[in-house]
């Protein structure tokens, strides 16, 4: 039980000490998850809106598959990316496995369906009326998609925050493709999971708290931005 209080104390110590190694781990976590979220959003948001408002045959089936893909386990994504990037795999010559780039690729693939699915669902339920209005005012597909993104800005921002949180808190994919190599690919969650298997509970909880804090800051930024509206 006192692990938890001890964890709090350690967390505060960690944050104050600005220990170089911890700093490296935390900043790598942020770097990897931010890059992945940005790449995934750039691709998935316009596509999600586009397919959300588009009427086409088999849209029901498409919806089901979309929602299913949102929950592909991170270990599976990690595994597939690892196989593709490994020396024996098709992209073996780039020597990407167990690097930061591999982690960004894996997390991008992990959150792409999430961002797509969330945007798709949003556009499907609330984009319809906007699309109708845009259509009657003479907007083409491109205008319509950008209009809907602007109109649903707040909800889309919340979705992006959700994706970021998913990325930074997942361990399966980064562990498999990153390998938790000290100084290279060690991020918060892989450290937590290592600390846990080493029985160092207070440190694991401390890092967990740091992670929650990062999430909180991101949500606060987005939330205060959305309040301006």
């Amino acid at each position: 039980m006192d692990y938890i209080t001890q964890g709090f104390k350690e967390a505060i110590k960690l944050l104050i000490s600005l220990d170089k190694e911890v700093f490296k781990i935390v900043s790598l976590s942020i770097l990897v998850s931010t890059s992945a979220t940005v790449f995934a959003s750039l691709i998935s948001i316009p596509l999600g809106v586009y397919f959300g408002i588009k009427r086409f045959k088999g849209k029901r089936m498409f919806s089901r598959i979309t929602y299913t893909m949102m929950s592909v386990p991170s270990v599976v994504v990690g595994l597939v990316v690892a196989i593709i990037l490994s020396r024996r795999g098709p992209f073996g010559q780039f020597d990407l496995l167990y690097t930061k780039k591999a982690m960004i690729i894996a997390q991008t693939l992990l959150v792409m369906p999430l961002v797509f699915g969330l945007t798709y669902g949003l556009a499907k339920s609330r984009g319809d009326i906007i699309e109708r209005v845009a259509f009657t005012l003479g907007a083409n597909k491109f205008h319509t998609v950008t209009l809907i993104i602007r109109e649903l800005k707040i909800d889309i921002l919340v979705n992006i925050a959700t994706a970021f949180s998913r990325a930074i808190s997942e361990v399966g994919a980064v562990m498999i493709v990153g390998g938790n190599i000290k100084g290279y690919t060690r991020v918060i969650t892989t450290t937590i999971s290592m600390m846990n298997s080493m029985g160092d509970y207070p440190m694991a909880i401390a890092l967990g708290l740091v992670l929650i804090l990062i999430s909180f800051v991101i949500h606060s930024i987005i939330y205060s931005y959305s309040q301006e509206d």
Binding site: K182, M194, S197, G199
Partner: protein
């Protein structure tokens, strides 16, 4: 293959007074309270436990729940009273554990051996120059600053590896020394990708050989032997500990019968035993 003696004939007189009516082989008994065995991933991943435990359960009526973790965590679970019995490999720590009163006693059970594996083309030519001398190999590694992947997870294997570096008089550090903080399988894969060297237990390497481009470079050195011990956790720690079951497991593992079974494991699949029984 490592140079090892035949499995030692166990001394029957040992621990007789503590052997609680060990049942005859094959005679089923009433189900009893299960025990929690905390052990290392290597015993689970090699398949040893899948092979041994059903037999143990059938013979004693005690079910065994296995929690496979690093040796560090396994010992911690013992200290916390979360496990009933431990099967681990970090002898100095184990002795300390018993001395501190966390366990009632400890016995050697078996050993396996570690090997140094590296790229197929063996860039340091260790296989040619030092096929049986791990210390010289590590010195060369350090001189050339050649990539070496370490478990770095406080596991028994990690502790063993650090012990060997110490023996060689080297403080491993630098960009060439990768601290993976991961399990054995993962570390082998990392070494494979980075085309570096690593120290691994033979069982894990053999079971993953097909997916790796790594070869055995050094083996058979005294320093590479890896001793497993069994420790029943002090039953006084809390009311939930199944002290009797733990003792029964302890005795079974070091009994002739248990030892024979251990010695026979892996013969069929790999043509060589993976663990060498040596209870005394």
């Amino acid at each position: 293959t490592p140079k090892t003696e035949e499995p030692v004939e166990p001394d029957v007189s040992k621990d007789v007074e503590e052997t609680l009516d060990t049942p005859e082989v094959g005679e089923p008994t009433e189900p009893k309270k299960p025990i929690i065995l905390s052990t290392t991933t290597s015993t689970q991943d090699s398949g040893l436990l899948d092979y041994l435990l059903p037999i143990f359960t059938e013979e004693t009526g005690i079910e065994v729940k296995v929690i496979a973790v690093g040796t560090g965590k396994a010992l911690q679970m013992g200290i916390d009273g979360e496990a009933d019995v431990l099967l681990v490999h970090a002898k100095p720590d184990e002795l300390q554990f018993v001395e501190d009163g966390h366990g009632t006693k400890r016995n050697d059970v078996m050993y396996n051996d570690f090997i140094l594996v590296g790229p197929m083309d063996d860039p340091l030519n260790l296989k040619e120059n030092y096929p049986g001398d791990i210390l010289e190999g590590l010195k060369l590694m350090k001189e050339n600053e050649f990539t070496f992947v370490s478990r770095g997870d406080d596991s028994g294997t990690h502790k063993k590896e650090l012990g060997i570096w110490k023996e060689a008089g080297i403080e491993p550090a630098g960009a060439w020394y990768m601290d993976a903080g991961a399990g054995m399988g993962d570390v082998l894969k990392i070494a494979n990708e980075k085309q570096g060297y690593t120290i691994t237990d033979r069982a894990t390497y053999l079971s993953m050989r097909d997916v790796l481009d790594l070869d055995i470079v050094t083996e058979g050195d005294e320093n590479l032997l890896n001793q497993y011990g069994v420790i029943p956790v002090d039953p006084e720690k809390n009311d939930n500990i199944n002290g009797e079951g733990a003792l029964e497991f302890y005795n079974w593992m070091i009994s002739d019968h248990g030892q024979d079974l251990i010695g026979g494991f892996g013969l069929e699949e790999y043509g060589q035993p993976l663990f060498f029984p040596n209870a005394n």
